[in-house]
């Protein structure tokens, strides 16, 4: 390469170096902020349909629903409207030529703590905290994080992970390849099923509660304390079952299945029912650290 050609090449790189931050600033400037407020009564219903972006919902003490949307571009429109005690929030594509990144919209929504939520989000993420009403969340690739929630919680993802921290009430979660982490749960009914993902349950075993965890492969890990009380049934058709709980023979299981590795027994007085099933994954019942 000649000296002249080298200099031209260096100039091009310098020009590109100046241009890229400039474009990034323009892009940041085009991301606008929209804010809407809605006065609601007790137990309002809030629905959110957002194909791409992060949805963060927090409870507050006001009887208002506040919607703050940040659009990546004006290629997407945000509709937020109230019908009675229901608030519907939706993003809508306005240009056919828009790329997926152009359609990204992030939401921060504040709701009364008794609000009922229905959230559909394909990619991005869903975070909900301190909301005590019923909740239905459906995603494709987006992960779902719930914190200090209660009510009847139904979560369905295709590939998104799910984490539930200090959740109460009733929980039903399904996925195909998402991992589940259920930490410090206080739920009286948990049904969690994923195909390829791992499931970690590290929560309270409430009296008369039911905990059903199921996967095809991956690991199911359940942590217990010496004071816990549950009746356990753990079966892995092709995988292994590891157990650290000192179980006594259960009065509820007379027949041992002919296929797979199974473990039945009662820990303390067996007040909760724990059912762990895997096709070829490993089931670990371990002492809590």
């Amino acid at each position: 390469m000649s000296t002249l050609a080298t200099l031209r090449s260096q100039r091009r790189w310098k020009a590109a170096g100046l241009l890229v931050p400039g474009l990034l600033l323009c892009s940041a400037a085009s991301a606008d902020r929209l804010e809407r407020h809605f006065k609601v009564e007790a137990h309002p219903v809030v629905t959110i349909h957002n194909p791409n972006g992060t949805v963060t919902v927090r409870a507050w003490t006001k009887s208002d629903v506040m919607v703050v949307a940040r659009r990546a571009t004006t290629e997407v429109e945000v509709d937020a409207e109230q019908t009675g005690n229901r608030v519907d929030v939706q993003t809508r594509q306005v240009a056919d030529t828009a790329s997926p990144d152009d359609l990204r919209t992030d939401f921060e929504i504040s709701v009364p703590e008794d609000a009922e939520l229905q959230i559909h989000n394909d990619s991005g993420g869903v975070n909900v905290s301190n909301v005590l009403g019923d909740m239905n969340v459906e995603t494709i690739a987006a992960g779902v994080d719930l914190e200090d929630t209660a009510g009847y919680l139904t979560v369905k993802t295709v590939g998104g992970a799910f984490q539930c921290l200090r959740c109460a009430g009733r929980l039903e979660v399904t996925s195909i390849s998402g991992n589940f982490k259920l930490i410090d749960l206080r739920s009286y009914y948990v049904r969690a099923q994923t195909s390829e993902g791992n499931i970690l349950f590290n929560g309270s075993f409430l009296p008369n509660a039911t905990y059903v965890l199921k996967n095809y492969s991956g690991a199911i890990e359940v942590r217990f304390s010496p004071g816990d009380s549950f009746d356990l049934s753990a079966t892995s058709l092709k995988g292994k079952v590891h157990n650290e709980a000192n179980l006594t023979p259960s009065s509820h299981h007379h027949f041992v299945p002919r296929f797979g590795n199974a473990l039945f027994g009662t820990f303390n007085s067996g007040r909760a029912r724990v059912e762990l099933n895997s096709f070829d994954g490993t089931i670990n019942i371990l002492k809590r650290d």
Partner: protein, 214 residues
Amino acid sequence: MEGDRPAEARAHVSQCPSCRYLVEDMDSIRLAAHAWSAEQTDPPARLWISLRAQLEQEGLIRDAGQRAVPVSQTDQAERPRGWFAGIFTIVPRPALAGAYLLALVAACIALTGPSARQLNESRWISGTQDSTGTLSAQLQTAERDSVSAMAVSDPVVTASLHDNLAIVDNYIALCEKSVREEPESEIARDYLYDAYEQKANLLAQMTERGVNGR
């Protein structure tokens, strides 16, 4: 009874929980029968005489001397009953109970024996194929329609849906193999049905995205 049981039966019972529970139940019944047999005492002769007189008086039975039935017919009717009743008088009741128990265990082993097992397995396989064959065909059609209709708007979402469809298909194949290997395994069949359900749900989501153009 343990000593009377053939070695093959003992080996099977030690391996098969269902038969073990059956044998335990039978043993309990046999022990109870022993106890009743030991406690049983013959009623006094006067009780039989009194009972017979009462039944004759009410016309429910007739005196043997008043019968008009020909002797040859009576013999034919009496012989089998006498022969059968004779067994009960000759052989002690506990031994009969034991023989009955052995016959039951033998029947149980015969039912779970190789030929019966093969028959059962083929029944399970054909039953499962009947129930899943149509479903599988419908899902294949639905898959073709869903994949072709799906709008390719967000590559992350599209990739996730395709990846997870492959995962579910893989599990369906694994479960089908497992059902073929262990046709009587309810757990394997449950997993297979679950996998079909997951695929149906996933295809519904893909179709929804195709229709909505998302």
